[in-house]
């Protein structure tokens, strides 16, 4: 009896240990580091001086990158939603026996490395590439206009990288949608657009919420896209944190920016879930 009751906790244990070891401990360490004396260095060592001033200093220096992260991630999330929703809709409701094949196609890019894919974008968007050539010919781009090293390139890459994370949850919730509800809406005088707005979209909100979170959160912390496809003018907070830890070796500042990023994401996510989560997920 006692063993039976203890079992669930025993099963929890490995997971809890894992979290404490690899998430909680580093997070506490990171928070502590963000409050170290900024005058210290790796060679001289850091002193814990509760320097809350690290935060305003970091924002003053890299507020632009922080803002850009959220801006780019927001744009990429929106683009992924606009591209991913019709895709998920067709796969879930119209694809019939092609359903599984199309799903594999959505996931297939993830079989190759993130880095390789981003480098491939570099080739696709290069000044001498076909895309730029075509856009120039169509006068959608100035004769000397370029895509590489612009915000467009970075946002495109972010969108592309996280699209599967948008499509899969959308697909899951659309697939569960009872097609008879769509019939019922049509029978009750809803035109196709109204069927979508009044029935399909509200019932797929769990997928929309999950998809936007799974896209937005990693996109905010991304630094590979800006690094490979942008210039310092497109750098996001990830690039700054990367540099703070690995180039400038300014650990307190890197840690302060990391904590800020986490806190900001947390606030945004909670706000988004409050707005659209409970009514549809509950």
């Amino acid at each position: 009896m006692r063993r039976g009751r203890a079992l669930p906790y025993l099963l929890l244990l490995p997971g809890l240990l894992w979290l404490v070891l690899f998430f909680l401990a580093p997070a506490v360490q990171l928070a502590a580091t963000s409050l170290y004396d900024p005058a210290g260095s790796l060679t001289t060592g850091y002193a814990m001086t509760w320097s809350f001033g690290n935060y305003p200093d970091a924002v003053a220096a890299y507020g632009a990158q922080l803002g850009r992260s959220f801006g780019y991630a927001g744009l990429a999330t929106l683009a992924a939603l606009l591209l991913g929703y019709p895709l998920a809709y067709v796969i879930a409701l119209r694809a019939g026996r092609w359903q599984n094949l199309l799903l594999v196609c959505v996931v297939a890019p993830m079989f190759t490395s993130f880095l390789v894919r981003t480098l491939a974008w570099k080739t696709v968007l290069s000044d001498s590439g076909a895309v730029v050539g075509l856009l120039r010919d169509l006068h959608l781009l100035a004769p000397d206009g370029r895509l590489l090293a612009t915000p467009v390139a970075v946002v495109t890459s972010l969108t592309y990288c996280y699209l599967p994370f948008m499509v899969l949850p959308l697909y899951a919730s659309l697939q569960r949608l009872d097609p008879r509800l769509l019939d019922a809406a049509g029978d009750l005088f809803a035109r196709p657009g109204q069927v979508f707005r009044r029935v399909t979209l509200p019932l797929s909100m769990p997928g929309v919420v999950a998809g936007t979170l799974l896209t937005f959160i990693p996109a905010t912390g991304d630094y590979v896209s800006a690094e490979l496809l942008g210039t310092p003018n497109e750098y996001m907070v990830g690039n700054v944190i990367d540099a703070a830890f690995l180039v400038r070796l300014d650990y307190p500042q890197g840690a302060a920016l990391s904590v800020l990023l986490m806190a900001a994401i947390l606030v945004l996510v909670v706000g988004w879930l409050r707005r659209s989560g409970p009514t549809e997920l509950g």
Partner: protein
């Protein structure tokens, strides 16, 4: 005006919802679900489409609602061709099999859905009145998942009826309910129909439900209408072996018409001779099925006790089934055919034990004659084994 007299169906002068299906066909790949169906549903009738599962009832309703495009044929509503009309333009609403209520909307919004799409005035008032008509006042803010099966059923009804459709389509609306609730909802449906009016097309595989509710019943089988008429007409004088066995039970004796005697057709079956009034015959020559309902057959001890003018077969009682209101005897006749006999449990006659020799008899006017041959095979398990009659009559019938 809609707010003054909300639930009257079409008013005077308005078309009243006469539905005509002409040559309607639905094929899925090489499955023909609905096969050149011709059907007229009079305006204002309570019409039942009765048939076994898979005979094409849902497919027919979906075409009328505009949710499925017919492979061929036409649909006319009050003489207007609506075959190609989009579903949201048809003055027709559906109560779906398993209801299909919107899970993300509460009861009020479910019922208001159609009114809002058509921008009707006084949505709140109309919804409230409709909900009180189906005895769901106070449930406005509940979600469908919080309701019982019977309540969900009534929401589905209200959601369709509030739009005052010219034709209300009901796809096995009571199929998911337990027996007691089903009986209650049948009465409820009748009452609602009296208050709301309009044409109701009620699809069901339950013959008792169809006969209780409808003023006209169409029996459907394998994508076609076998017979159409009032419940009494269908029961008293079925047109095919399928109808005779699907709507109630029938004893069907395979035989052959060998002559005519005034207004009677003479039939030879299992070596016996029988007669059937020609007014009760669907066939007057060749292979036939002589039918008689089990409750029209009586049992006596000896041929001498058979009343004058009755026809009989002798045999022994096989299984005896107690049904409460009646007792069912299975009589194995000397001629080799099994007869089913219902004896009313009126407390008068004693139960006959198995093995007792008996004589089963009936009056010719209770018999009916159907085409034999191919329809016979469609009748399925309820039909007797196809024993060919011996060429020469061995013993004469009672006449």
């Amino acid at each position: 005006m809609a707010t003054e007299e909300p639930f009257h169906g079409p008013g005077p002068g308005e078309p009243a919802g006469a539905l005509r299906l002409v040559d309607l066909t639905m094929r899925y790949g090489d499955v023909t679900a609905v096969d050149r169906l011709d059907l007229t549903v009079p305006a204002g009738s309570f019409f039942a489409l009765l048939g076994p599962s898979g005979c094409g009832k849902t497919s027919t309703l979906r075409m009328v609602a505009g949710l499925a495009e017919p492979t061929g044929g036409r649909i006319l509503l009050d003489d207007e061709d609506i075959t190609r009309l989009r579903p949201y333009r048809r003055p027709v609403n559906t109560v779906f099999q398993n209801y299909a209520l919107f899970p993300h909307l509460d009861v009020f919004e479910n019922v208001a859905f159609g009114l809002r799409r058509r921008r009707q005035p006084d949505v709140a008032g109309q919804v409230r009145r409709m909900l009180s008509l189906v005895a769901l006042d106070g449930y406005e803010r509940q979600r469908p998942s919080q309701l019982s099966g019977g309540q969900q059923q009534r929401v589905a009804l209200a959601r369709a009826l509030v739009n005052r459709p010219r034709v209300l389509l009901l796809d096995e609306p009571l199929g998911a309910l337990d027996l007691a609730l089903r009986r209650r909802m049948q009465l409820e449906l009748k009452r609602l129909r009296a208050e709301v009016g309009g044409t109701f097309v009620h699809v069901t595989h339950d013959q008792e439900e169809a006969m209780t509710l409808a003023d006209t019943v169409a029996v459907m089988n394998a994508g076609r209408i076998e017979q159409l008429g009032t419940p009494a007409e269908l029961y008293e004088f079925p047109a095919t072996a399928f109808v005779a066995t699907f709507l109630g039970r029938s004893n069907l004796l395979a035989g052959r018409v060998y002559g005519r005697d005034g207004d009677d057709l003479l039939v030879q079956a299992y070596g016996r001779r029988f007669s059937v009034p020609s007014a009760r015959a669907r066939a007057d020559s060749g292979e036939v099925l002589l039918g008689v309902r089990p409750e029209k057959v009586r049992l006596v001890d000896t041929p001498e006790q058979v009343p004058a003018g009755h026809q009989w077969l002798d045999g022994t009682v096989g299984e005896v089934g107690y049904l409460g209101v009646s007792t069912e005897y299975s009589v194995r006749t000397g001629a080799g055919v099994e007869l089913s006999v219902f004896a009313a449990a009126d407390g008068e006659a004693p139960r006959i034990p198995p093995g007792t020799p008996v004589v089963a008899h009936w009056h010719p006017r209770h018999a009916f004659l159907l085409h034999g041959g191919s329809t016979f095979r469609d009748a399925g398990t309820a039909a007797p084994p196809p024993v060919p009659p011996p060429p020469v009559p061995l013993s004469a019938g009672p006449e």
